[in-house]
Symmetry: C2
Subunit: 203 residues, 2 copies
Amino acid sequence: MAGYPLPIKHLISELGKLPGIGEKTATRLAMHILRAPEGDARALADSILEVRDKIRFCRVCYNFSEAELCTVCRDSARDSSQICVVEDPDALMAIEDSGSYSGTYHVLHGVLSPLDGIGPEQLKLRELVERIRESGVREVILATNPNVSGDSTALLISRMIGPLAVTVTRIAQGVPMGSDLRYMDRMTLSKSLEFRRGMEKEP
Amino acid sequence: MAGYPLPIKHLISELGKLPGIGEKTATRLAMHILRAPEGDARALADSILEVRDKIRFCRVCYNFSEAELCTVCRDSARDSSQICVVEDPDALMAIEDSGSYSGTYHVLHGVLSPLDGIGPEQLKLRELVERIRESGVREVILATNPNVSGDSTALLISRMIGPLAVTVTRIAQGVPMGSDLRYMDRMTLSKSLEFRRGMEKEP
């Protein structure tokens, strides 16, 4: 890209900062932006500025939101006695897309990761504890990812809110739907055995 | 992405218009843009607007340029008696990066592609012929891609400028460096035999 004019080099370098976009892809995207209709390029730039301008965190659950409260927290049909604790808004959206949860959320915006300098004070933990104390929460479902960081974060939360009068649960770990045991990793198989459930009796 | 606030949906949809970016990748990029430092998002948006604002075509060779003449055409050290005809600025840049060419270029901005409605009048062909007529060009190197569209475009150009007093050449086709004949396609092998050259004698 050495020979491109400066504005193109700028664009390639800015695009290259995006995750998973290397110099080759950035160059291809830049060429597309150069050739696309003027309106498309402007719309892309505007949407980047708009998203930074208009999106903030929900005052209650720290989900992305346009207003003070996010769509979930605003929805009176949601069961506010359940809080599902997730790492980030992407996880929240994945659970929403599954359509199998009607409670509220709490977004931590990260997980414990000492090597990256992320300790309890970098997460929205204090806010979670306060929220549980102040409202009539019945159950806290820990839905951090099933890995070392997610598990240790879940453990920490479970200890922090243990003294409060609230049920703490963890999402189930096991073999995913449609998988083949032959190709499943040992950790998952071992979890699926450890957490085996009694079969429901035929009616 | 149904549940995201509108500005995030906008951004995902605009990013999804870029080539090779599906909804999942667009969502990942949007999340990055939301979390990146404010300055980074602004720099990206600005560079998109800047590139559309400042980049135009070189008056002589139709390469991307910030000024009326591109860096190649401005460079008096380049041999202006040679014109290398390429499909697009990417091809020009690839040849520049190879460091093996010191002449000038002519960017067609496309190749003949009747199915896409691209005929001779959509390419910078008239401009090429005029340029050859008006300046002391000695050789025109046709460096369109070695495929059906590129070959037919090269053939057309060769016929158009045949009557002019200028040498017309085509870049060599054959087996690429470092390749293995076992895995080479038949067309390439057949071209590499058809265009075989006499070995240079030992000195």
